[in-house]
Amino acid sequence: MMATALALVGPVAAQTPPNVLVIGQIAEPASLDPHVSTAANDFRIAVNLYDGLVRNKPGTLEIEPALATAWTISDDGLEYTFNLREGVTFHDGTPFNAEAVKFNFDRMLDENHPFASTGPFPLAFFFSSVDKVEAVDDLTVKFTLNEPFAPFMSNLASPTGLIVSPAAVEQYGADYGRHPVGTGPFKFEQWQSNTSVVASRNDAYWDGAPTLEAVIFRPITDANTRVAEMLSGGIDVLLETPPDNIAQFSNDANYQVKEVVGPHVWYVMLNAKDGPFADKRVRQAVNYAVNKQSLVDNVLQGTAGVSAGPIPPAFNWAYNEDVQPYPYDPEKAKALLAEADAEGATLTFLVTEGGSGMLDPVPMGTAIQADLAAVGLKVEIKTYEWNTFLSEVNPGLEGKADMAEMAWMTSDPDTLPFLTLRTAAFPAEGGFNSSYYSNPEVDKLLDEARVATDQSVRGDLYKQVQAITHEDAPWLFVANWKQNAVVTSAVGDFELQPDFSLVLRDVTKQ
């Protein structure tokens, strides 16, 4: 009896095996079919099982070759021709070729495709500008677009552009998401529901086999439990550490804390159609009134940086360094409010309880409320659960509220302003411009940027967009989230990527 009891509680329980990396994920993956999935959580696994035609160069958001070795873009921006890498096979042994690429995009985009029913494909609209995909020869594939669409390459590098094995989709049908087959550095081995996803080294990987023998992803939803697992030795990598625990790990030599700013913006949209925010001076006033530095330092404990505009600094080629965040200046805010005759106004503020990329939305909302109270604005907070919140906010704020929290993570600088700041993106038109911001100059710049295939030209256009929107202040610009992870000292060459993916091909473990 005693012996059994001792066997049950031996400290041997708390060791991860050598050369196998155990990762504490934030949730059970929904699907490992990258075209079906929408969650960053799933994509962190998928990017290790699959490759796309192109990928983001490690540490940047610049495009580099992956399954495609080179490409040409026609002058009118309508035809993209890719040369494919030779000799690559999927993990199931079937060859990667132009037909496989065509199969991937046809499945997502053509509702009559024989395997369209293996969807739905929620993010397929990333490629809605694609008119047709043709296999020119075995190793050449041509995409024809129905309009010029500059973000096309960034979207190809996003997880929705990862290439799956057609043979495996045919074999598993709707269950493909639990039997993923790609060309990536790790091969899928096993998915034990709610316990783990295991992937092993692909010795034949075209970009050099990884050092790690295997990686194991464990779903641990509760953040405190995730921290406890890290401290008790059950995992080697802890993702999305709660801000309160970061200091504890940075002060301990057994751990390394990794951080990187991602393409994320956290903002408060301001209703420019009716109410006090119809006046630009009031919108500027709240930007002066809120102490964003204190918000990211105290509420978010340094896990975010202060945001200056709608384009996150992670897109370094499109980010305007000259646009500085509004300084904290309550006196200036009061002066602007007096000028606009909006002193003592009452504002309704929609706040969510949680949600993708929303960080700590309730404490952030109350901190903003307190800062606005200090300049004499009375803010009434209404709190909603995430899905309810979206269905309140997405149809527009008119007649309902003056302010609403929102956050986006995107793969291209175009996405956020295009969907939220154009006149043609008002909710009635099917966009997300719920605050009804409208400036013809911004509309024009965004349209031009969308068709410009030269990256430096595009970059300049976005820099102008930032300067104008900063001045117009359609939002209260607040924060850019820094993604974090904690790894044990045994883990080497682990870096987080600005696109929020988790690239493990070069990681080592002693």
């Binding site: 639990r178 295991v198 406890a228 269905s391």
Partner: protein, 315 residues
């Protein structure tokens, strides 16, 4: 007895039908839908409509309900929108995990609770009674999730004796000792509150029985004290304790929701919490239906056990 059970089973049918309608309606009436949850910030009306069409959610509510029930009757619970997997597979897998957790804690709370309650009644106002009462009070007043966090802090993080979460180790484990090692903390935590309740009620029932005439008669006949208490009084007290165990079974099933979240136990409660927040309609409907059916059956079982012990109740 057979007809009693049949009657009770028949009575459960309208309860389950009613429940299926309520669950269906509740999931329809809360704002947000699976397409919205899948698409998040990208939920344009176009995209939402496209996904709803793909999921068959563009049909009328009665149509959706009857399609669901029709499939159910053929044993098809549908596919989870979010997990992209048959609902029944997921629910059964999750439910067996919950049953292991709830079963273990029910066992712990029954054995410990009845034992503690009986001992403390027999030695009323003695030091055993005081110690038991003290721990019962702590057990009842401490929130289970908080206790769970404290256990994790000491047993997993400080002493590294037991795993902090999960049901099996992700490598090498998977056998019975591995399961038991993972089970100790969550089942123990879940059992503590229930143990207090059972001990308290057993103590009260025993005290009442001990005062009755037949116990005095048994003593007068010259039976040993052990025989009086265990063979006569204890058996009589059980009649009022057993239905409490039925209620406790429901309680541990419900309490499992918190414990599953704290200890990352892959059970039904944890699944339902997530499925509701992602508006995974079919998964919620299937999960609730299975849980409710089992709840009805457990209560039936408790009533049958009570009727067996006390023939007056058979009616």
């Amino acid at each position: 007895m057979g007809s009693y059970i049949a009657k009770r089973l028949l009575a459960a049918i309208p309860v389950i039908i009613g429940l299926s309608i309520i669950v269906f309606l509740v999931m329809k009436l809360i704002p947000g839908d699976p397409a919205q949850a899948l698409l998040g910030s990208y939920a344009t009306p176009d995209n939402v409509a496209r996904i709803n069409r793909a999921l068959g959610l563009d049909r009328s509510w009665p149509e959706q309900y009857f399609i669901w029930v029709g499939n159910l009757l053929q044993g098809d619970f549908g596919r989870s929108y979010i997990l992209n997997r048959p609902v029944l597979d997921e629910v059964l897998e999750r439910f067996s995990a919950t049953l292991i957790l709830a079963g273990a804690s029910l066992l712990i709370c029954s054995v410990l609770g009845i034992l503690a309650g009986t001992v403390s009644a027999v030695r009323q106002f003695g030091w055993t009674d005081r110690i038991v009462t003290f721990f019962v009070l702590i057990g009842i007043s401490m929130p289970a999730f908080f206790l769970g966090l404290i256990f994790i802090l000491f047993f997993a993080v400080q002493w590294r004796l037991l795993p902090a979460s999960g049901m099996y180790a992700v490598y090498g484990g998977g056998d019975l000792p591995d399961l038991l090692r993972h089970l100790i903390l969550p089942a123990g935590t879940l059992a503590i509150v229930a143990t207090g309740v059972v001990a308290r009620l057993t103590r009260a029932a025993m005290l009442e029985v001990l005062r009755q005439d037949f116990v005095r008669t048994a003593r007068a006949k010259g039976l040993g004290e052990g025989a009086v208490i265990w063979r006569h009084a204890f058996r009589a007290a059980l009649v009022s304790v057993i239905p409490v165990l039925g209620i406790q079974a429901g309680f541990v099933l419900g309490g499992a929701v918190y414990i599953e979240t704290v200890f990352q136990w892959p059970g039904l409660g944890q699944m339902l919490v997530k499925a509701v927040s992602t508006r995974d309609l079919l998964l919620v409907q299937g999960g609730v239906l299975v849980a409710a059916t089992v709840y009805v059956l457990v209560n039936l079982l408790a009533d049958v056990a009570q009727a067996t012990l006390d023939p007056r109740l058979k009616g």
